[in-house]
Symmetry: C2
Subunit: 343 residues, 2 copies
């Protein structure tokens, strides 16, 4: 089996390592930035000088190019040969419809970039969306699905439009809102220092101004679905403003219900409990809590810190699935002498 | 010195403990929910049956009532006696203008409620906003300022309108946006499971549907400033949508600049560096990282986890102030065998 990877960074490189180790493939790479590091690490076995050379004779081609040049790179990969071609872009419309092409998007590892961080196990357990078009050949879909499952991922078919709408809602719109909030606050505060008011502002602006080289392309490529999501957010903000003079409690309760349902769906139906731990602000206290729970085998589904650099104290919020587990977690943390409140 | 506290929960109780320990005060309490726990813990020395009884003969009265009944409780505290009266509400307009009243708002400890968690050191280093009106007596302001500094807080004067605008921007609007995002996603996803797409969605919806008993009152009390903030957010979302067809890179860069300036102002001018650590998803790994940095005296200014319950890996983002410290942190984490990328 010959697998070609066009764009050998974190995602392409990890797929290359997994294809070699788990599919027994020979991996050929092409990267406009060069392949020295990938060859030195053994991430690819063969280096191609052009996309055409990479594709020739390959069985499977994975295009891991930036979103801005994705469509043209996919088209180049389809121009010759007989390989099944797939990609890993986070926006799935605007790509060629072709019998040999099936779009893809693994939900994994976008935070640490570069082939230096590539790992064969990057996709273990990760959802890997596949977006076949009406003309994609069924036998190629079935083979690609099996290959992805064999490298440890969980392939899931979804149409390109639904994919882009979902990602607009849970990834692209959150980034837009983070930008909006941080720019609003900067304008509103003027020269005032940012008040230290708990974790909400920090949490919500962490992704503000995310890497423009990546995100400008994503925003542009998903402008249709993201535009719709922005319109919906505007309508909901108008409702929120109206609720300030109406039944703001019902409005807030509805959001609480929506959050609970989303979290429970994500965690497979278990009821999620929140523990709030008041902690002194000293190095090592997060470690103590995490260790105490880790040693007891308690899994922390989610965690938020408000470290408060100038203050004597802070709060760790822990989300734990299952009432019994949450109660056990509370006992363990209280055993460290830290007060715990159930939210 | 006699200090009276109306509403003996986390904030009122902590102030009571601090007033006794650090001001040498005798503390009298009133709480409509009873004072058994506060008396048993020694948080108050005297229990009053009514607000009037609590205020009689007191030098300083701290009103720690819920925002919904705050104005009337402050008015009751001012009805008799000669005490200086202050409060701890998170919205500062709509309170009485009175020579003996000075509004207040400590930025501390709102996460774990109840007198059981009260601590004398809760306010150490915390900003404590004071919002004197035009008729507040100067000598009372000076005495209150000194008392708060003596219990460890950092009093800062601000007019009520500016206070409410700031809090709308950095606390109330973030809560509204979290509600909007979670309700948008619930509607957009329908029955689909929430895709596991990195920390942005989780981070931004953690505070969604926060405790309605507290937040409905806050939203209502600060409806004017919050309404303005919502309008500004809507205008910025409209700009964002327009940027999708225009210079979206410049729009994103502007947000990145705003975030950097806000973080630097908060941390006192030091440049903040972000490290992204790729971690296997096993109990104890957060602890290892936190311990390694804690033992070396490296302070983590902010931290975000994407634990990915179904996946083989996750990412810890660490924000560290100062280039030398950030480089040291990177070496320490890499020494644990974990790959680190600079964002």
């Amino acid at each position: 089996v010959i697998v070609s990877v066009l764009g050998v960074g974190l995602i392409g490189g990890s797929f290359a390592l997994a294809a070699r180790e788990r599919l027994g493939a020979t991996v050929r790479g092409f990267d406009p930035g060069g392949l020295d590091a990938a060859l030195a690490r053994g991430v690819v076995q063969e280096a191609a000088a052009t996309p055409g050379e990479a594709v020739a004779g390959a069985d499977l081609v994975l295009v891991a190019a930036p979103v801005g040049v994705l469509a043209e790179t996919v088209a180049a990969a389809l121009a010759t040969g007989d390989a099944t071609v797939t990609d890993v872009g986070s926006v799935k419309r605007g790509l060629p419809e072709h019998p040999r092409f099936i779009g893809g998007h693994p939900l994994a590892g976008a935070e640490t970039a570069g082939v230096a961080h590539a790992r064969a196990d990057l996709f273990d357990g990760a959802t890997w969306y596949l977006t076949p078009s009406a003309v994609s050949e069924g036998v190629r879909y079935e083979r690609l699905h099996r290959a992805l499952a064999d490298i440890g991922a969980q392939p899931a078919a979804v149409d390109a439009q639904t994919h882009d709408r979902m990602l607009a809602s849970v990834s692209h719109l959150p980034h837009v809102l983070a930008n909006v909030l941080v720019s609003h606050a900067a304008a509103s505060l003027g020269g005032e220092a940012l008040p230290v008011t708990g974790p909400s502002f920090r949490d919500m602006t962490r992704v503000a101004g995310a890497n423009t080289a990546i995100w400008a392309d994503i925003y542009r490529a998903n402008a249709d679905a993201l535009g719709d999501a922005i319109d919906d957010a505007i309508a909901r903000l108008q409702e929120a403003k109206a609720a300030l003079d109406g039944d703001v409690a019902a409005w807030n309760d509805a959001a609480a219900g929506d959050r609970r349902r989303l979290l429970e769906a994500e965690l497979g139906g278990g009821m999620v409990h929140e523990l709030r731990v008041a902690v002194p602000n000293r190095p090592g206290v997060v470690a103590e809590v995490a260790l105490a729970l880790g040693h007891a085998g308690v899994n922390i589904a989610d965690m938020a810190l408000s470290p408060a650099p100038d203050r004597a104290s802070g709060t760790i919020s822990l989300w734990i699935a299952g009432e019994d587990t949450a109660r056990r977690a509370q006992e363990l943390v209280e055993g460290l002498g830290l007060p715990v409140a159930r939210a």
